[in-house]
């Protein structure tokens, strides 16, 4: 008795199972007629209809029929392969039919549900669709899926909060991790920050314990002042060369790779008078001044939001800058940690130094005072005194010029409210009316258009803090090319799917987290890092990867080594072998078919989507019956 799985040159024995899907198909297509028709088609050994093919008895029916009628390929004509193919493929396999000998015909989404008012035509179309399925099925061949072993070690590129978190997660799972950081220290951008939002711990106090843990972890090998020099291979089997300052490159073997290279703040050259006066600085420079305790004496500070963002130098909103500005504004208003350097004694001096405030400013202050009272907000907290941990109210006027405040989420919204309670003023500007920073007699002032009063105003200030967006690392393109993973239009690394696969790259084995995939705060970076580590650990923990047998196959007798396929493959799944002939790395190939459609010599066939199969299916649609 012949084996079900053997198909060598034997006449195919196709089984067709046509589903009513309750009345979803049966209500709009004459399923009985389609079944009858199917049984007349070439090589169809058996055809039947089921009320619900995907139900237990429907599946059992397939299994039993395969045995009973010695079927070697199965067609289910029902819903959509996008949801149900795996189920029926498993059923086939359970009955000894290779899953690649299964064909799906979509009678529901592509027929009954879209032709609900023309049963006769819908039935004719259903017959055609089944005939197309049979035409395809006759040319199917069983396939074996490639299984490759995975080196259970990971590489993390970037030693900021994201990279460290990811490395620690993987190391705690027991996997060796190589952590590559181009700087001479770990910590990333957070190391240069002063205070952090929503916590009383300083940036240093927050990041230090993480650095200590990484330093202490036996599974983590650090490569400081280093960079990734080259990457060869594919998921499970990467050969990475790590270059250091003048040092010999180190070769490591890893199974998965996480990209966590962060971002940098935009330098707002040419915007808002930056560099024209020492009082015009960026928010990052503000953090540095706070750290170095070098803030000058301040009476009035203006933040300008979206400096360079949202249509100026970059098109996007950098998300975090509003919250950063709110944080800093509160700290100035509270004089938290005495950042203004106004100690008790100095405060007295300062008091003397306060001359008559500019009339403009006074009017402003009164105006806002009145408004506050009207809104019933003038509560004790605003006195500044009596707030725990806060130095006495700084008495500094803080204004945040903004296009709109992106204080997303509950916590940020609370901080926003808190800032308003601290009398931080939020003044809106429109994209066509950017605030103008100018220097008059050595003094700074901000000119702006008052949206409610509909008139131009000026405000004298001591400092202008430009909230510039985070932009992609200037060398992101280099890493993107080495790893063959894409950058989006703004130069940030681009995940496989913005909603469903936010920390994966489309290329298996490479993952992404933190500010290198777009502006993110620390909490967001940490959750992404945990996610990326978890995704990266799956192949490491399994110890192998199994790729679907949808790949390209190069006929080496036809290939002339022209290299066109290597150029077009988005996954670097093709390479030239020692003879200069193209070869496929099956585990890396995604089966898109680009190389197949491209190869000028016709040397490439796509398994399971051969020209023969596709043409048979398509041409069957045109047959007259």
């Amino acid at each position: 008795m012949p084996e079900n799985t053997s198909t060598e040159k034997e006449k195919p024995r196709i089984g067709v199972f046509i589903c009513h899907c309750g009345s979803n198909i049966g209500g709009f297509v004459d399923v009985k007629a389609v079944t009858e028709y199917a049984s007349t088609l070439p090589d169809v050994a058996y055809a039947t209809d089921n009320l619900y093919t995907c139900a237990e008895d429907g599946l059992n029916n397939i299994k039993e029929t395969i045995k009973e009628h010695n079927l070697d390929r199965i067609i289910v004509a029902s819903c959509t392969p996008r949801t149900h193919a795996p189920l029926f493929q498993r059923t086939c396999e359970a009955a000894g039919v290779n899953k690649y000998m299964f064909t799906f015909v979509n009678l529901r989404e592509h027929c009954s549900w879209v032709h609900m008012k023309e049963k006769e035509k819908a039935t004719q179309k259903a017959k055609d669709l089944v005939r197309m399925g049979v035409a395809r099925a006759r040319f199917l061949e069983p396939q074996e899926e490639t299984r490759v072993d995975v080196t259970p070690t990971a590489l993390v590129v970037g030693g900021g909060v994201s990279g460290m978190t990811a490395a620690l997660s993987l190391a705690n799972m027991g996997f060796p991790v190589h952590l590559v950081e181009k700087d001479k220290e770990l910590g990333g951008f957070v190391r240069s920050l002063h205070a952090l939002m929503m916590t009383t711990k300083s940036a240093n106090e927050t990041i230090r314990p993480l650095i200590d843990k990484v330093n202490a972890h036996k599974n983590i090998t650090q490569h400081l002042s280093s960079h990734v020099a080259s990457v060869e291979g594919f998921i499970g089997n990467y050969d990475v060369s790590i270059g250091g300052d003048g040092a010999e490159p180190k070769e490591v073997k890893v199974g998965t790779i996480i990209v966590a290279t962060g971002a940098v703040p935009l330098v707002p050259d040419g915007l808002f008078g930056y560099k024209e006066h020492p009082g015009i600085i960026t928010s990052s420079e503000f953090e540095e001044l706070c750290n170095k305790k070098e803030l000058p004496r301040l009476k009035s500070v203006a933040f300008i939001q979206c400096a360079g963002a949202r249509g100026q130098k970059v098109s996007y909103c950098s998300r975090i800058c509003c919250n950063v500005a709110i944080k800093s504004a509160i700290h100035i208003a509270e004089n938290r940690d005495n950042i203004l350097g106004v100690t008790e004694e100095k405060a007295a001096e300062a008091g003397e130094a306060v001359e008559e405030p500019a009339a403009e400013k006074k009017a402003e202050e009164e105006g806002s005072e009145r408004r506050r009272r009207r809104r019933g907000r003038g509560r004790q907290a605003e006195d500044g005194a009596g707030e725990e941990g806060a130095a006495p109210s700084s008495g500094v006027e803080v204004t945040v010029f903004n296009r709109d405040v992106m204080a997303y989420g509950v916590e940020n919204e609370l901080e926003f409210n808190k800032a308003r309670e601290k009398r931080v003023k939020f003044v809106r500007y429109g994209p066509d009316n950017l605030p103008k920073v100018s220097v008059k007699d050595g003094k700074l002032e901000v000119g702006y258009f008052h949206e409610t009063l509909k008139m131009e105003r000026t405000m004298p200030v001591d400092m202008v803090i430009l909230s510039t967006p985070l932009v992609a690392q200037p060398d992101a393109a280099t890493l993107s090319q080495l790893l063959k993973v894409p950058l989006g239009q703004d130069g940030f690394f681009q995940e496989a799917h913005v909603k469903l696969r936010p920390v994966d790259f489309a290329t298996d084995g490479v993952y992404v987290c933190g500010a290198c995939r777009g502006p993110a705060d620390i909490a967001e970076s940490v959750s992404q890092a945990a996610g990326a580590a978890s995704r990266a650990s799956i192949p490491l923990a399994n110890g192998f990867v199994q790729a679907e047998a949808l790949t390209s196959v190069v006929d080496e007798t036809k290939c002339t080594g022209c290299g066109t396929c290597v150029e077009v493959c988005p996954y670097s799944a093709l390479r030239k072998n020692d003879e200069g002939i193209s070869e496929v790395i099956a585990a890396a190939c995604k089966g898109c078919g680009c190389c197949g459609a491209t190869c000028p010599e016709g040397a490439i066939t796509m398994t399971h989507y051969t020209d023969q199969q596709l043409l048979a299916e398509a041409k069957a649609a045109l047959e007259e019956v």
Binding site: N106, E109, T564, V568, P570, T598, L615, A618, K619, L622
Partner: protein, 275 residues
């Protein structure tokens, strides 16, 4: 309606003007976007005409000119290619190559005398169910207006489509179009990006050349023909035909056959006896 259906059943050969005629449309849809969009269209019960038959491919980039031209050659009235929106391709750059390939298909349809409106490329995302129904509706109506493809009724058109198919499989066209996207975005081996207009010019010229040669082979396969006859049938100057013939003879693709009087005729030969 029953009548129409009846006629279809009896497989009567249909000609333009026949009331019974309904366009036959094949759609190649990528698995991730357009096929999913067509699924959503069904789930949302957006209705469309029954003429289209869908074939699933993993990526629109799989749809080579050969697939399309061969299916046109088999009598399709219209072909729809559906892919993800640019920059949303599941395989990142796949659909950029699709665009280039479709340009070539259109060029080839043009030279073969098939209205290029019979080929339609649409980006339909997995969430654009309604768009899918609109596209199919519109395309079907358009095909209805264009009438049946001449492939089944006009032997010259059939030969031309076959020639276009062969031309699409030549090394020169495949290599040019295969590299087109990368040449325009990443540049050549020396990092020079090509001027798109210049490249278009090169591909246009190559398309015409390859098509003409393929058509000569196609016609001379049916019956041996003289240069003059070929020039007349193909409606191009004889010196061009002669130039092609010289090259085809060098490649041993064509041979001189029984000279009748003074006029030599040419006949397509197949190396290795393969048909």
């Amino acid at each position: 309606m029953t009548e129409k259906h009846h006629a279809a059943h009896h497989g009567k050969k249909k000609v333009a003007g026949d009331k019974e005629w309904e366009p036959k449309i094949v759609g190649f849809l990528c698995n991730w976007c357009s096929y999913a969009g067509a699924d959503l269209c069904g789930v949302s019960r957006f209705q469309y005409p029954t003429n289209i038959r869908l074939v699933r491919v993993m990526c629109s980039t799989r749809v080579s000119p050969h697939l399309v031209l061969d299916v046109f050659g088999a009598g399709a009235d219209g072909i729809l290619i559906g892919g993800c929106h640019l920059n949303d391709c599941h395989y990142m750059t796949g659909n950029f190559h699709t665009e280039k390939r479709v340009n070539l298909m259109e060029r080839l349809l043009r030279v073969a005398g098939i209205d290029e409106a019979r080929l339609r490329l649409e980006w339909v995302s997995a969430s654009e169910g309604e768009k899918f129904s609109k596209v199919v509706k519109e395309f079907t109506e358009e095909m209805q207006k264009l009438g049946p493809s001449k492939v089944c009724t006009d032997d010259m058109v059939k030969a031309k489509v076959a020639a276009a198919d062969d031309a699409s499989e030549t090394f020169r066209l495949k290599a040019l179009v295969g590299k087109e996207f990368n040449l325009l975005t990443k540049g050549n081996a020396y990092g020079d990006k090509l001027d798109p207009e210049k490249l278009t010019g090169i591909i246009d010229a190559a398309t015409e050349d390859e098509f003409e040669r393929a058509l000569i082979l196609e016609l001379a396969r049916i019956r041996p023909m003289s240069v003059k006859q070929l020039g007349k049938v193909m409606d191009i100057p004889t010196d061009r035909i002669l130039r092609h013939i010289v090259l085809l003879r060098q490649n041993s693709e064509i041979a001189m056959d029984h000279p009748e009087g003074f006029t030599p005729v040419y006949k397509t030969i197949t190396i290795g006896g393969e048909q």
